[in-house]
């Protein structure tokens, strides 16, 4: 009780209830002030005179707490009168009183339950698939428009995209496929050695790298590298209203932004896959020499004899299809960005996930189709 009297004192003068505010009523002292107000025991719906003659400082947070406690006790504006306040404090209290008819604002984000979360996610997937579908249609129409007026094609933009997608990616693609070639050959070699079937390792490495490993890995790398970049670039442009500006200038955002990327990546991916084929086989050759004592001439001779041309061709045919899917998903997700930074991040993540899933699904489809065709 004693401590609370440091902040507020209740006295009765000539039959009137007077509340003397004391000390520094500031945010930093808000906790003891609130405690003092709570222990005051205000009589409900009675008249109070608030006296500011003993007040040293006042800010809005403290003023708000004072009025809030008075209002909770049923003492509203007509029952209160203020006296002997510093004119600045009086203005502040008037402002606080004018603005304080406010319920507390919850600081919690809305956290949906499990079922709602799953439901919302499912609807979101459906919405994205529908949007992708419409987008593919829009891109197809633009390609038709481009075929009619080839002058619309943006060569410069396409070339610069090609440079970042393809040329700049060669080192990482070569490194990854080389390492996979090394690992694959090593593990295959361990098995083959037991049966004295060393030479057959070459058949296995050639087939696996050219037909499956290189196309798949390169597509995953490009999805993570260029797909994410597309979404982030286009998404940031969306946030800055650059896409609207493009439309306003009478240009088609798909012509300007999507088609150059689509063309560049579709050309780039088969080339990268070819680089991957070479690097993977080089990795295999290194390990074959080191572990199985099959040297380069023997290796190449055997490879030439056993690797059917169809294997690298299958890999190179799959690549542009993967590329088109990555480009369409990435550009679409960029266009879907809302006007805030968080959404750029969410959509970029989504692009990478969707692209990789689609690449693997398509790869499975190709495997079945080529099997049926006997290739």
């Amino acid at each position: 009780m004693n401590a609370s009297r440091d902040w507020i004192q209740h006295e009765i003068e000539n039959g009137a209830d007077v509340l003397y505010l004391r000390g520094v009523w500031r945010l930093s002292n808000l906790v003891p002030i609130v405690r003092a107000l709570q222990s005051l025991g205000l009589a409900p719906r009675s008249h109070y005179v608030i006296d500011g003659s003993r007040l040293e400082a006042l800010d809005t947070a403290a003023g708000f707490m004072l009025f809030r406690h008075l209002a909770d006790a049923g003492c509203t504006a007509p029952m209160l009168s203020a006296r002997s306040f510093d004119p600045r404090h009086e203005r502040l209290l008037a402002l606080v009183r004018e603005r304080m008819e406010c319920p507390p604002a919850s600081a919690r984000s809305r956290h949906p339950g499990l079922v709602r979360h799953v439901g919302a996610a499912a609807l979101e997937v459906w919405r994205i698939l529908k949007a992708h579908n419409a987008f593919v249609g829009a891109v197809a129409l633009e390609i038709v428009a481009l075929a009619k007026r080839p002058r619309l094609f943006r060569v410069k933009e396409t070339v610069s995209q090609f440079q970042t997608i393809c040329l700049d990616a060669i080192p990482i693609v070569a490194l990854i496929t080389f390492l996979i070639g090394v690992v694959f050959t090593y593990l295959l070699g361990l098995q083959a050695q037991r049966y004295g079937a060393n030479i057959f390792v070459i058949d296995g490495v050639g087939l696996a790298v050219c037909r499956e490993l290189s196309p798949l890995l390169v597509a995953v790398i490009v999805a993570g590298r260029s797909g994410a970049a597309f979404t982030a670039q286009i998404g940031t442009m969306k946030v800055q209203e650059e896409i609207d500006a493009i439309s306003t200038l009478g240009l088609s955002p798909i012509q300007v932004l999507v088609l150059p990327r689509l063309v560049a990546i579709t050309v780039a991916l088969p080339l990268l896959v070819f680089v991957g084929d070479l690097a993977g086989i080089a990795g295999g050759m290194l390990i074959a020499a080191w572990q199985l004592e099959i040297f380069a001439t023997t290796f190449l001779d055997r490879l030439h004899g056993v690797l059917p041309l169809s294997a690298p061709v299958v890999g190179l045919v799959k690549a542009p299809v993967f590329a088109a899917f990555i480009a369409l998903i990435a550009c679409r997700m960029g266009m879907l960005v809302a006007r805030d930074a968080r959404s750029v991040g969410i959509n970029t993540t989504s692009t990478v996930v969707q692209s990789i899933v689609w690449v693997i699904v398509l790869d499975a489809v190709f495997a079945v189709v080529f099997q049926q065709l006997g290739i």
Binding site: L30, T60, R88, R99, R342
Partner: protein
């Protein structure tokens, strides 16, 4: 030519002394000096690219000036340790041009950030204070549950001001607070700033292009041009100065001025 009101008598809340800023070979500020008194509403004006926003960033400790000293609350911002500067940061508020609300938090969470980080208030008090801050800047409490992306430009600025005012600062810096607002919202924002300044004793430092702001709520105006302060005084006195840029700037307004 230069008008200097009583500045160096020690009651200044902010003192900028011969600040020089260079970016590579570009000289942005070439010896900028002025002072701001407690309780004043001061405007900093100048053409585009005269380094107004840069100056504010230097004052609040985000960007180091090439030379010169900046004293805020009698503390040298650029020759103090981090701890001291961080204590200073609780005593001023900053409203960035586009609000700079944290886009992953709701409006209420945005305003609650300073309370959570810098005070030991019990958690049940914070929502009430957040609601009050919202209504202090003239927003309904339902705004609290919205995400910043769902707000209009004017609302963003109000929320940002509520966040800047959360810790009851002694001075607030407003970077172009009325740009991008319609005239009605802009005037409402101005009068709100003036009311807050008058009743809270708040010092306000506004970077602005808005003539209406200047003519309605500003005590003193500082004009920056070619890296120097070319005028510093009350709006009336600066308006009458015979300097080409100032004349052009105020003449944009003269017809309305005559009507008034």
């Amino acid at each position: 030519m230069e008008i200097r009101p009583a500045a160096r008598n020690g009651s200044a809340i902010l003192e900028v002394d011969s600040v020089v800023t260079r970016f590579g070979r570009d000289v942005v500020h070439d010896g900028v000096s002025f002072a701001v008194e407690r309780g004043e509403v001061v405007a900093l004006i100048g053409g585009s690219g005269t380094g107004k926003s840069v100056l504010v960033k230097e004052v609040i400790g985000l960007l180091r000036p090439t030379a010169g000293t900046i004293r805020l609350f009698d503390t040298d911002v650029w020759h103090s340790d981090r701890e001291t500067v961080n204590t200073l940061r609780r005593r001023f508020g900053m409203l960035f041009q586009d609000g700079a609300l944290f886009s992953s938090l709701t409006v209420a969470e945005n305003i609650a950030v300073p309370f959570r980080e810098h005070t030991d208030l019990p958690l049940e008090l914070i929502p009430a204070l957040v609601g009050f801050k919202l209504s202090l800047v003239g927003l309904p409490p339902e705004t609290g549950t919205k995400m910043p992306a769902e707000l209009s430009g004017g609302m963003r600025k109000r929320v940002a001001l509520a966040r800047a005012l959360a810790l009851e600062p002694e001075i607030v810096f407003l970077d172009e607070p009325t740009s991008g607002l319609d005239p009605i919202s802009a005037r409402a924002f101005d009068s709100m700033v003036r009311v807050l300044s008058d009743s809270l004793g708040l010092t306000v430092f506004i970077v602005t292009h808005d003539l209406d702001t200047l003519l309605s709520i500003i005590d003193r105006v500082i004009v920056l041009s070619a890296g120097k302060v070319i005028a510093d005084g009350s709006v009336d006195r600066v308006m009458r100065m015979d300097e080409p840029w100032i004349r052009d700037y105020f003449s944009a307004r003269s017809p309305a001025q005559e009507r008034a």
